[in-house]
């Protein structure tokens, strides 16, 4: 049983903790460095990326998160993806830059443009359908050479990973399908 931290400054961290517990791992809500240090892996949830970055500065969490991400695995969904990226527009502080992707925020439009649609997920050599929930979602505008695409919606890459960082523009935590959480916990990093 692994200790999976979920950054709980703001956002839908509770939904991620349910997914982690359903997979019979321990979910640890992380609001400070002490809790972070106890974790084997970390999830940065959906929420508001501007709020995350403000609170990370205020609570001195940037450096501990950077150190964690250099050694251990992190998954980021939606705002979590933005937080882990190399660059994204209109943020109060630079994102963490732990994965070489460039992000366009709110790329599909506003909430009226949010949607659920089937995406193509390929984590173990075969493409499978997966219901992707996209809420005011970002798009990955560019991927670095060490980043592998893992899922597509139409022509857009919606999930990708480097050696130990996994990011998705959609919300696997809002569905009951645990495949992506299981992949992260068992195979990333």
């Amino acid at each position: 049983m692994a200790k999976i931290g979920i950054l709980a400054l703001q956002g839908d961290f509770y939904r991620h903790s349910l997914a982690v517990r359903r997979l019979e791992h321990e979910a640890v809500l992380v609001k400070d460095e002490a809790a972070l240090k106890k974790c084997d892996k970390l999830i940065i949830p959906g929420g508001e990326s501007t709020t995350f970055l403000h609170l990370m500065e205020k609570l001195n969490l940037r450096q501990p998160l950077l150190e964690f991400g250099r050694e251990k695995a992190i998954m980021g969904t939606c705002a979590g993806l933005i937080t882990l990226s190399k660059s994204a527009g209109h943020l109060p502080f630079p994102p963490l830059g732990l994965i070489d992707i460039t992000v366009e925020r709110n790329a599909y439009g506003r909430q009226v443009d949010s949607f659920v649609d089937t995406i193509r997920l390929n984590v173990n050599g075969t493409e499978r359908p997966y219901e992707g929930v996209f809420i005011r979602a970002p798009k990955i505008a560019a991927l670095g050479s060490d980043v592998r695409p893992l899922a597509w919606h139409k022509d857009d890459v919606v999930m990708a990973a480097s050696e130990n960082i996994l990011v998705a523009t959609f919300h696997p935590e809002l569905t009951d399908d645990l495949r992506i959480h299981a992949y992260f916990i068992e195979q990333v990093g």
């Binding site: 709980a8 400054l9 703001q10 956002g11 839908d12 961290f13 509770y14 939904r15 609001k31 959906g46 929420g47 508001e48 501007t50 709020t51 403000h54 609170l55 205020k58 939606c78 705002a79 527009g89 209109h90 109060p92 925020r105 709110n106 439009g109 506003r110 909430q111 009226v112 949010s114 949607f115 659920v116 929930v133 809420i135 005011r136 919300h171 809002l174």
Partner: protein, 293 residues
């Protein structure tokens, strides 16, 4: 009950959890709110304390002002329509606001009916004083509930009353036998299937936020400990002496609501809070929380 449209609506409400949604009246205030770490802003022409002082009919805000705010910040923008005024809601959806608050803070347009919110693509938040009212609004399609409190009062007492009422009724339902639920639903004035959901899950089917009267970081921490999943702060920020500092402090206290040392540090050196009103100083017919049915 979560079809795809409703899943997407509730999904945005899930993303706003653990945060602070701030009332703003112009682009400059919206920027202050975003820079303080707000998860969303509520765009309205007059904050509740001023609506209360000015009197007269309070309506949906000017679309031009709402659009200016939407162009200024990257966080979600909410706006209010009058209870039952579905044409105002249609306008807000056409502008592209991210969430509509069918709000008792504005003068009600319909004394009997609320909006049938399933007809809209934009999610709605509605106020409640108790569980029956919450479940009626959810049945009409609300994707988020906020306990009402008393907007513009700077007094937390009504917010506490409404949050406790909802939580107590949820606990009560969990103690009932299945054959007692129909009668309980009848008395609550709520659909049976939603009462059954509450019994099975011990919570509302949509996120439950708090509003109306939060003026200090400790108020925010209190509401989170009583079961709120996010705080709406209206007059409490921009009616205080130093709005930017107070906004940041309330954000910090909402995240660390269970850490009194952190709430204490957030509370230091903030200048004066908004003055606030005793409930006994607000005549019953002027209490905003009594609106809605």
């Amino acid at each position: 009950m979560l079809d795809k449209t409703f899943l997407v609506k509730v999904g945005l409400a899930e993303m706003l959890k653990g945060g602070v949604i701030m009332d703003v009246t112009n682009a400059e205030q919206a920027k202050i709110a975003e820079d303080a770490g707000a998860v969303a802003v509520m765009a309205l022409e007059r904050i509740p304390a001023d609506i209360r002082a000015d009197g007269g009919v309070a309506r949906m805000s000017n679309p031009k002002m709402i659009k200016e705010i939407m162009d200024t910040v990257s966080i979600p923008v909410m706006a209010k329509c009058r209870i039952g005024h579905f044409a105002e809601a249609q306008v807000l959806q056409a502008i592209g606001v991210d969430f509509i608050d069918e709000s008792e803070v504005l003068t009600p347009a319909d004394e009997k009916n609320h909006i049938w919110k399933h007809d809209f693509k934009v999610p709605f938040v509605c106020g409640c004083r108790d569980l029956g009212e919450a479940l009626r609004r959810i049945a009409e399609g609300a994707a988020m509930i906020r306990t009402k409190g008393e907007a513009g009062s700077g007094n937390i007492v009504e917010a506490v009353r409404h949050m406790r009422a909802v939580q107590t009724e949820i606990k009560r339902i969990q103690t009932l036998r299945d054959d007692e639920l129909m009668s309980y639903a009848k008395n609550l004035g709520a659909p049976l299937e939603l009462v059954q959901y509450v019994k099975e899950n011990g919570k509302l089917p949509v996120p439950n936020f708090s509003a109306g009267g939060i003026a200090t970081p400790a108020d925010a921490a209190l509401m989170m400990q009583l079961g709120a999943e996010t705080n709406f702060v209206g007059s409490g920020i921009f009616k205080s002496e130093d709005p930017a500092a107070r906004a940041k402090a309330i954000v910090l206290a909402t995240t660390h609501y269970d850490d009194p040392d952190m709430v204490a540090r957030a509370s230091e050196g903030l200048g004066e809070a908004m003055p606030g009103l005793e409930m006994s100083a607000i005549p019953e017919e002027e209490q905003l929380n009594k609106r809605g049915w």
